[in-house]
């Protein structure tokens, strides 16, 4: 099922302690334990967060206003149920992780299971998306799209960077023409292209 024929890169031995590249996001502390469960801490945090969310939902559900007209089952009942389920699942997972039964991470065609997590890439992708979000209203959608595409491609290993930038710019403009111009989605073309007729539906 899983092919390992001719994988060119030297696989990391799974037994190696993980000193992960780059700063980890705040909610996933650096794994300090080596194998066996090298991803134990992050998983523990996720399980605990699920349980904590459950507790929060249970508490917050009590403060939902119940209008006097409500018969039998009001707006609080379902939140109580959901909070309970979150708490049960979270606690069960904490127990599971502590007893050493870590989850099986997901496979995929482009996922190299022997690779260590590259946190730097994840952080940079997130930063690119955030920049994209704030760029939309400043430079217009096509350029914000170019920033997102080029940024993500370069972070993921596209070289040279100017080719990625060029592809991104062309892609952004083409999408703007097709979706904004032809299909009538109101994507803001931005100050630079304001007044170009075929960019707006």
């Amino acid at each position: 099922m899983r092919s390992d024929s001719g994988a060119p890169e030297a696989p990391t031995t799974p037994g190696e302690p993980t000193a992960e590249a780059g700063p980890p996001p705040s909610d996933a502390p650096e794994p300090v334990v080596a194998e066996p469960p090298r991803r134990r801490w992050g998983e523990l945090v996720l399980a605990a967060a699920t349980a904590a969310l459950g507790v929060y939902v249970l508490m917050a559900a009590g403060s939902i206003t119940v209008p006097g007209s409500t018969n039998t089952l009001g707006p609080r009942a379902f939140p109580y149920l959901v909070g309970g389920m979150l708490l049960v699942a979270g606690v069960a997972l904490v127990v599971l992780v502590l007893s050493g039964r870590a989850g099986e991470e997901e496979g995929g065609e482009d996922v190299d299971p022997t690779q260590r997590s590259d946190w730097l890439t994840v952080v940079l992708l997130v930063v690119t998306l955030v920049v994209h979000v704030f760029a939309i209203n400043v430079v217009g959608w096509p350029f914000a799209a170019a920033i997102l595409f080029a940024g993500a491609a370069v972070v993921l290993g596209a070289r040279p960077w100017w080719r990625a930038a060029l592809v991104g710019l062309v892609l952004g403009l083409v999408i703007q023409v097709i979706f904004g111009g032809l299909l009538g989605l109101s994507l803001p073309p931005g100050p630079l292209l304001e007044g170009v007729p075929f960019l707006r539906g």
């Binding site: 099922m1 092919s3 024929s5 994988a7 060119p8 890169e9 996001p25 991803r39 992050g42 998983e43 399980a47 969310l53 459950g54 939902v57 206003t65 209008p67 018969n71 039998t72 089952l73 707006p75 009942a77 379902f78 959901v82 979150l86 699942a89 997972l93 599971l96 989850g103 099986e104 991470e105 997901e106 496979g107 995929g108 065609e109 482009d110 190299d112 690779q115 260590r116 997590s117 890439t121 994840v122 992708l125 997130v126 998306l129 955030v130 979000v133 704030f134 939309i136 799209a145 997102l148 595409f149 940024g151 993500a152 993921l156 596209a158 990625a164 999408i175 979706f179 989605l185 803001p188």
Partner: protein, 510 residues
């Protein structure tokens, strides 16, 4: 009403040249995106949803039918030709198909998948034509508790039963239910869990969650451990006419029919959709193989023909509960509900009566899309092979871009893109720690519906809980849950016995 003439009317609508072009467009784009590695049908539909926002409902539905079948089909090409299969959902096809391709029989594997999909798709669409009106007629008589029972069945089967880990499935489902709670309560108008943020008063858009979990989460996860080095696509010999030898036909036709017979019924019941169907078909083919059983695991054509047919038949079967009960039984179906709602169509028992022209146009375009797929895919396989070798950095950058476009286009508000990123991060961590994401999407969509049904039921019974189980249908459904749980455990044992890796609960690909 006479269903046959209604269907003919549907054909008359769809055969209009403009609509035919839309159908071709849908099939083409669906296959193209479905072929892309790492993108399953659910993500294909979520990503392509913005394409249809500005179309009128009939055209949108027709494009959609094409995308649905095309996306389903595209995945098989990926798992057969890429030297690095690993997605749990396509594991059965990859098992035999990828071995065949490596033994130089890739063309035969692709052909049996394409023709099998066509045969199964056609038979299953015929079955859909006859079954859907019957189910719809019967669904009208169901009461509130019956619907609630059906939803509980869907929660349990999609959420927890079929995952490799029940607690992780439950956690994912509950997270989805929680996201569904955010917003204004429909019955009392109270705001719940909005944290005082006005943007949240209308709830979080399901498209943002689906695209965030499937597209952004996937891109981040792949980015964190990208497979570097050259992409190995197994070459396919030229000349598609000679692909299927006489022997291949002889060995394929029975698995096609058996796969269809297994796939359609499994698709119609809320039992996890196509994943289960492909696995059952694979197991059946192994049993019927007789002397050839030794070939299984080394590239037996039956192991591609059966599961691929089952997959497509199940895809049509899933439409039965979706259209007649409004009940999505897979993540892909759940996103389709969202798509329908965005066109102002509410799937459910009244759909066939109120929007019968639209429904029959959809069914007719399924027939046509299926035919187009066959015509398109046999000659164009060379092109799909090239799509497979698209550089991964551009591929995932493109996925991010289209995901961002889709969420931005919802309200043209950058806040939605920011939400998309947050959901994407959640999806990333879920993937990394083996939480299935499909139950979360299903929970978010079905949760508010289930709450509604439950509260209406109890309002009718004035708080009497026994009302939920006294109707014969609801009682049967709860008994069925118990049976399903039993069968689920049995299936897992079978899987281990046949040596197939456990089907991970993540149904995001079929």
């Amino acid at each position: 009403m006479d269903n046959f003439s209604a269907l003919l009317e549907g054909f008359a609508t769809v055969l209009h040249p403009v609509y035919l072009l839309w159908a071709l467009f849908g099939v083409f784009i669906g296959t193209a995106v479905g072929v892309l590695p790492g993108i399953g049908p659910a993500m294909t539909i979520a990503l392509l949803l913005p394409l249809t926002y500005s179309l009128e409902p009939t055209a949108a539905i027709i494009v959609f039918a094409g995308i649905y079948y095309g996306g389903m089909y595209g995945g098989s090409t990926t798992s057969i030709l890429l030297n690095t299969p690993g997605e749990s959902a396509s594991i059965v096809t990859a098992l035999e198909g990828n071995r065949m391709a490596r033994a130089g029989r890739g063309a035969a594997a692709l052909a049996t998948a394409a023709i099998g999909s066509f045969v199964a798709g056609t038979i299953a669409t015929v079955a859909l034509t006859f079954v859907a009106p019957v189910v719809a007629g019967w669904a009208v008589q169901l009461g509130e508790p019956d619907y609630f029972a059906l939803m509980v069945v869907a929660f349990i089967t999609v959420g927890a039963l079929l995952g490799s880990s029940v607690p992780r499935g439950l956690a994912s489902l509950s997270l989805g239910l929680f996201l569904g709670l955010i917003g204004t309560d429909t019955l009392t108008g109270q705001q719940r869990f909005t944290f005082g943020v006005p943007n949240l008063a209308d709830g979080i858009d399901v498209v943002v969650v689906a695209v965030g979990l499937f597209a952004v989460g996937e891109a981040l996860y792949v980015g964190s451990r990208m497979r570097h080095g050259p992409i190995e696509v197994i070459p396919v010999e030229k000349g598609w006419r000679s692909w299927m030898k006489r022997d291949d036909w002889r060995r394929s036709w029975k698995p096609w029919l058996r796969g269809t017979a297994i796939g359609f019924p499994v698709g119609t019941i809320p039992a996890g959709g196509a994943d289960v169907a492909t696995f059952l078909s694979y197991a059946a083919e192994r049993r019927f193989a007789g002397k050839r059983r030794k070939q299984f695991g080394k590239g037996a054509i039956e192991g591609v023909a059966g599961p691929e047919a089952a997959n497509n038949a199940a895809a049509a079967g899933v439409l039965v509960p979706l259209l007649t009960l409004g009940l999505p039984t897979t993540a892909t179906a759940a996103i389709m509900v969202v798509a329908f709602q965005s066109y102002g169509i509410q799937p459910g028992p009244m759909l066939l009566r109120n929007e019968s022209a639209l429904v029959w146009a959809l069914v007719a375009s399924l027939y046509i899309g299926n035919l187009m797929l066959l015509v398109l895919n046999l000659p164009l396989v060379g092109m799909w092979v090239r799509v497979l070798s698209i550089p991964r950095h551009y591929l995932y950058a493109g996925i991010l871009l289209f995901g961002a476009l889709g969420s931005y286009a919802l309200n043209f508000s950058p806040v939605d893109v920011l939400l998309l990123l947050i959901v994407g991060l959640i999806g990333f961590f879920m993937r990394r720690y083996g939480y299935p994401v499909a139950p979360m999407v299903v929970g978010m969509i079905l949760g508010p519906m289930a709450e509604d049904r439950l509260r209406r039921s109890l309002a009718i019974s004035q708080g009497d809980l026994t009302y939920l189980v006294t109707s014969p249908f609801a009682a049967t459904a709860y008994v069925a849950i118990a049976v399903l749980l039993g069968v689920g455990i049995w299936l897992k044992r079978r899987e281990r016995a046949t040596g197939v890796a456990p089907i991970a609960g993540d149904g995001d690909d079929r």
